[in-house]
Amino acid sequence: MIINRLLLKGSVVAALVLVAACSDEPAVSVDSQAAAEQAQNVLASGDVNDGKQLYVACQACHGAKGGGNKAMNAPSLVNQSPWYVKRQLMAFKEGRRGTHPDDVYGQQMAAIATTIADEAAVDSLVAYVDSLPDRAPEATLDGNVKKGADFYSMVCGSCHGPNAEGNELLDSPALAGVDDWYLARQFELFRKGIRGADDKYGRQMVMMAPALPTEEDVHNVVSYIQSLAE
């Protein structure tokens, strides 16, 4: 712990290099570990009814306005439906997500979420995130949008809605407005069974993964979804 604190200053550049060098392998950077530790402190001592104050714990990675930070592997939060953000926070907190040994980023998030005091605190956080203005993330992938639209309407749109806006009746989150790189990564986690093994909603996506047989198909669909958000 002391070592981490000493390394905190000046470690950002080193950490970024580390992440870039090992981009195929998920890696927890030193600075994000430190950020996590700070976050845990804030969450442990914060007022459960003050979402804005609690959110200070999140902003080191997810940004002051919830826009996310790809360098930190932290997705944008603002365009998502509050019911889904809550479900995921509770899943992280209660051990239904971020438990698989290969889900490095998920484990990070789970470690932080377990220090959220209670459901009231989760509700406050979700309400605060929901109050932040929506903003479409930047495109980082360059898939074939037309092909992606074809797959999307034939398969994905059945549950995630015609405009990727999500459908609470089907427990399906919005996809439009979620970072393309994050969507692609989650899909691969589902495909490998790294995400969704211990959560019934996630398992639905594990079962759907064969519908997009190749990484190219996934990128096409994700680029189409990105085009819906723009």
């Binding site: 092909k147 398969v155 749109g157 059945s158 549950c159 459908n167 009746l169 069974g193 079962m207 519908a211």
Partner: protein
Amino acid sequence: MKKITLLLSLLLCLPAMAKDIIVKDGDSIQAAVNEAVSGDVILIHPGTYRESVYVDKDNITLRGVVVEGEWPVMEGDHKLNDAILYSGNNFTVEWLKIVHYKGNAIMGQSGNNYVIRNNWVVDTGVYGIFPQYGKNGLIEYNVLSGIEDAAIYVGMCDNVDVKHNEVFDSVAGIEIENTRHALVENNYAHNNTAGILVFITPGLPIKTAYDIIVRDNFVVNNNTPNFGAPGSIVSKVPVGVGIVVMAADDVKIEGNIITGNQTAGIVITDLAFVTDVASDKESEPNPDNIKVLDNLMFNNGFDPVAEVKAAMLTKFKTTGPDILANIGSAQEPDNCILNAERYTSFGIGKWSKCELTTTADVTTYLLPADAAPREIETDADRVARLYKGICAGCHAYNLRMIGPPAMAIQAQYYDNPQGIADYLANPVKKRPDFPPMPSQGHLSEELRLKVAEYMLCLSPKNLEAVAANQGQVAKCEKMSK
């Protein structure tokens, strides 16, 4: 005494004499069906009938009585889903006007030896006449218009004649899908998005379409903008096509008049023409052994869709094609044509000249004697027949037909067949861009549960991807034994 007993029992065993049952305005057709026994004819007099009729008995005829131009009208008020569903064998329906239903005018659910003729169908939702998974059927002298998918949709059938029908103002005029031994003759298909389509839909229980003749039809001015439900597979059919052969094999096209279709007269293609989502390893995607014999074609392709326009530019042509076959394997020489020089064509350079000159030797694909009623030996057979005869009409495995793909339902209900069984009886609309699921409450709870379990077991390979799902996989393996 013994003899008398024998005689009496013989008498009792004789079928009741077939009788006419009269239905008049204000009566219920379903009540008459409930009363009817094998061989009965239900005579429906002029009037307005607001109901859905389900016929699950053999040898029943529904016959409209038309009096001085007054028809018996089945009126769905845009609220009822189906006008007539039948699952019995040797069913005949004729002389009915059917309007304003949301799903189907007439849908067959695995009945054999059906006759559907002289009906007048307007704006009945997704399909007009839709025999599904039946053998030996005749569809003739019907007039249909205003249908969101196919006016006449022959799905997963064998031995069917579709003759002398007029289909117009619909997205697809006539569809012959995953069907074998079909004759499509003397029909008038005009002002649809596409006139006559012969094709394979991947992801259905029947995987092939072959031995099909499209002959002596008028296929004219099919330029109506596609008004299929956005996102559904039919919504991807390009506007302005006369005849489409997609992935089907052994198709002969002869003697048709094909004019004024703005994208192309005839399109021969693999599945990519409509969608790239065709990952059914059991469906062969190429159109093989297609024979285009003599047809009259002109004024096709005058304002084609963008993809075809692009193909024209590469050939320095200013008018589009009578025949478009430049997509993938459609260009292979196992396809042939007569008098190729008469037509504007793309992609037939390698085609051979047909040795066959006429299909006149085939006068019908109906069977010389009735097909036997489908044998149902076990409960499992009955359940499989129900799935293929009803559910597969809207749910393909991994793509969106009318309803969501079966795969998505499996993911949602993987450990909860009872949830599906309950939903079938009382469906609730959950998907904003899909038509509402019609209730299947006429099926018993036990059957609904069994069909649900059957659906969850489709392609169990997929289920095996989920370690936590071993219980379901084991159950499916047990069922298939």
